[in-house]
């Protein structure tokens, strides 16, 4: 069942040199209990897109449709939006410090989040906080509940941040690079936790990451972003087996050590494919209007926005099966 449905999402940020379009018409959906990964590099618009859902970024102009559990969020007033943000959609960030307050004990922060959500007594809330800490894999939760964030390791802080996010029993968890700041030794544990939470609580997770390793561990479906647009989307296994878009293929190739492309990424301000200036296969048609989505292969949900998959071109031109 579709919980979140995003259509034609645009996000603009004002800058000294005029507004900059960070997200330029993005569509995706997230079902209950499903993990969807927004994958992209710096400047792909992945963070701007997920922050636009509940408008947590200041000064961004948001356009398009964000339907959450049947309600249009772009029309909501600030108060309604705040309550959705607290109760139904929770955020976890790359730096756990972003969501934790250094001057309150972790218990107080979870208890406050629980009591904002419903009118539990302090004792009830405390008991639930302990069990939340246990759920997120904190050993000795009854002892750790009175600790302050600085007394915990980075990995534990991120687990506590997840506990705070879960306090209101949300339907959707939006996690922006939640493991990027952690050592690889801790990453695997946190990914396992997110997997379990999603399965056990029927929690939908929208995960933003640049790391294909994280995607492989967690995603049900993948949305690949570049220059504020969706390049490709599909089920995780299909997409890893048969990446279709030249950009997605480059991402996989760079993991194997091939170093094509350049560091400067001029994103054309027109409607053509934003990747064409970097694309090894670019043809004049790539500049002609927004590439439509085509079936990438026999998998119905595997779609790619590239002219080579249209009727006028032969996919064989792109060579091989990617990876």
């Amino acid at each position: 069942m579709t919980l979140l449905s995003v259509e034609g999402l645009r996000v603009e940020f004002p800058t000294d040199e005029g507004p900059v379009e960070a997200v330029d018409g993005v569509d995706f959906t997230v079902d209950r209990g499903e993990v969807v990964c927004l994958v992209g590099e710096t400047g792909s618009g992945k963070t701007a897109a997920c922050e636009a859902l509940t408008r947590i970024a200041d000064g961004a102009a948001v356009d398009g449709s964000v339907r959450f559990d049947g309600r249009e969020l772009t029309d909501c007033d600030d108060r309604t939006l705040r309550s959705v943000r607290g109760d139904r959609i929770a955020h976890v960030f790359q730096q756990p410090g972003t969501s934790l307050d250094p001057v309150y004990s972790v218990g107080d922060q979870i208890i406050e989040a629980i009591r904002l959500h419903d009118d539990a007594s302090r004792n009830e809330a405390r008991a639930r906080a302990v069990s939340l800490l246990e759920d997120v894999g904190i050993a000795a939760p009854a002892e750790r509940i009175d600790a302050y964030p600085h007394q915990l390791s980075g990995g534990m802080r991120q687990r506590v941040a997840i506990a705070v996010a879960l306090a209101a029993d949300p339907d959707l968890l939006v996690a922006d690079e939640p493991t990027t700041a952690l050592d690889v030794t801790l990453q695997a544990g946190l990914l396992e936790l997110l997997r379990e939470l999603s399965a056990e609580r029927d929690l939908a997770v929208l995960l933003v990451t640049h790391d294909l390793g994280v995607v492989a561990e967690l995603a049900d479906r993948v949305v690949v972003l570049y220059g504020g647009r969706v390049m490709e989307r599909g089920g995780v296994e299909t997409l890893f087996e048969r990446p279709a878009h030249p950009y997605t293929r480059l991402l996989f190739e760079s993991l194997r050590g091939t170093a094509d492309g350049s560091d400067d990424r001029p994103t054309p301000a027109d409607d053509g494919c934003p990747f064409r200036s970097e694309c090894p296969y670019a043809v004049p048609d790539c500049a002609e209007g927004r590439p439509s989505f085509h079936a990438a292969d026999d998998e119905p949900a595997h779609e790619v926005a590239c002219v080579f998959y249209g009727p006028d071109y032969d996919i064989g031109t792109l060579g091989g099966e990617g990876s």
């Binding site: 590099e41 710096t42 008991a127 302990v130 050993a139 000795a140 009854a142 002892e143 390791s153 980075g154 990995g155 534990m156 050592d183 690889v184 030794t185 801790l186 990453q187 695997a188 544990g189 946190l190 990914l191 396992e192 997997r195 640049h210 790391d211 294909l212 390793g213 994280v214 995607v215 492989a216 561990e217 967690l218 995603a219 995780v236 296994e237 890893f240 480059l250 991402l251 760079s254 993991l255 050590g257 091939t258 170093a259 492309g261 350049s262 560091d263 400067d264 990424r265």
Partner: protein
């Protein structure tokens, strides 16, 4: 000096920081960030120094460059001892050994055109001829793939990858022999990383540059480096050729690092294994093998017939009692004044200890300790646990053994484990 002589040779390098407390700022202890490491690096070679954050690898980099004075040990560069250099020699050393950092933004002043920033080292080292400066800057920018025409632009006009190229251009101004690169690509996108690494490779081949590559990222290290030294809490636990070490790790810590890396295959998700526990406080490192508090294959006591996995769980329980992490009364309250039997089960469950240890003596020792704990006598419980459940790994510092391809410091490699 012959080709076989290392360009850089580090012996027993130590860097300790005093921990000061109170009004009088008395020194109450030392953080042993780097605690006696050896490294050798030849011209044209890339050596990786890997480990988790807080293992001391960045401190090692700064102290071997004498950007911070080492507490002990010797650094030899091109045959001479860096510690005995006078100001002039140290200046010369600083030209020949350069540091490249993770975040290029820290290397550039946003209000100064990048060309001037790249030329900055020449101010410090007194190259003042304007033509010569311009020529050098243009040449170095070209080397790193930046158009010299853009030298008068400001940092914000460049992407993260381009800024790291600019930082590299600056490090290359004096054609150094050694580049110490501290997580040079960690902040960059994968594709940009790959391009920067391939640029480093090209430069290395062309200029016979030696690179000390500091990283926490095993995948990058495997792709880019020749040899590796694995560091844990200020010490090197294993070393050898990169592929051999990561294909068949001889130290459990190296194994844990390798096991934690995700597979990139959605069909095999969940295979990556986290390493439990936190990196201990380097001001108070664990006795014996510093990894014993987290090691998945810590050696069980000879007196009992229990496997390493089970022993790990009991040792975790013991360490929790020692750290005062178990509050029995609180646990009792949480379980609605449960019986002692329930509490025993809950405690075992929390640390993954089996309901009953297969070895009768071990089970009796553990039960007795749990009884003391439930009776509120934590001291007795700890003493019982520490007497029965002890390991050579905590009692003796492991010697460094030769492995087929390098070396590893682990008691599992002792000929007859000295129980």
């Amino acid at each position: 000096m012959s080709d076989d002589d290392p360009l850089l040779s580090v012996r027993d390098l130590k860097k300790h920081y005093p921990v000061k407390r109170g009004f009088l700022r008395r020194t109450v202890g030392h953080v042993r960030a780097v605690d006696g490491i050896d490294l050798k690096l030849r011209r044209g070679e890339t050596l990786a120094l890997v480990g988790e954050s807080g293992c001391g690898k960045s401190t090692a980099a700064r102290s071997l460059l004498h950007l911070e004075s080492p507490t002990g040990g010797e650094v030899r560069f091109d045959g001479a001892s860096v510690g005995s250099f006078d100001d002039g020699e140290l200046n010369q050393f600083r030209r020949r050994a350069q540091l490249l950092l993770q975040n290029p933004d820290e290397a550039f002043n946003p209000r100064i055109p990048v060309g001037e920033s790249v030329a900055e080292p020449m101010d410090i080292h007194g190259v003042s001829d304007p033509e010569r400066r311009e020529e050098l800057v243009a040449d170095r920018l070209e080397r790193v793939g930046i158009d010299p025409e853009t030298a008068d632009r400001y940092p914000h006009e460049f992407s993260g990858g381009q800024k790291q190229r600019l930082a590299l251009a600056r490090a290359l101004v004096f054609d150094p022999d050694l580049l110490v690169a501290d997580e040079p690509t960690s902040a960059l996108d994968e594709r940009v990383q790959t391009r920067i690494l391939s640029l480093l490779e090209t430069l290395q081949d062309r200029h016979d540059l030696a690179i000390l590559f500091i990283s926490h990222d095993i995948r990058t290290v495997r792709r880019f480096c020749d040899r590796v030294a694995v560091m844990y809490l200020g010490e090197i636990v294993e070393r050898g050729p990169v592929e051999a070490v990561f294909e068949d790790p001889q130290h459990p810590y190296t194994q844990a690092l390798v096991d934690a890396v995700p597979t990139l295959d959605p069909g095999e998700r969940g295979e990556a294994k986290p390493l439990d526990g936190d990196v201990p406080d380097p001001a108070d490192p664990p006795s014996g093998c510093r990894f014993h508090t987290r090691c998945p294959v810590v050696i069980p006591p000879e007196a009992f017939d229990i496997d390493a996995e089970t022993f790990r769980t009991v040792l975790n329980l013991r360490l929790a009692v020692a750290a005062d992490d178990i509050d029995v009364e609180r646990l009792r309250g949480r379980l609605n004044d449960a019986s002692d039997e329930r509490l025993r089960t809950a405690l075992r469950e929390r640390y993954g200890v089996p309901d009953s240890l297969s070895d009768g003596d071990a089970e009796r020792a553990l039960s007795a300790a749990l009884d003391s704990l439930l009776a509120g006598d934590e001291e007795a419980a700890l003493e019982q646990l520490e007497t029965s459940f002890t390991t050579v790994c905590e009692r003796r510092e492991p010697e460094t053994h030769d492995t087929p391809v390098g070396s590893a410091a682990c008691h599992r490699r002792d000929e007859s484990p000295p129980f």
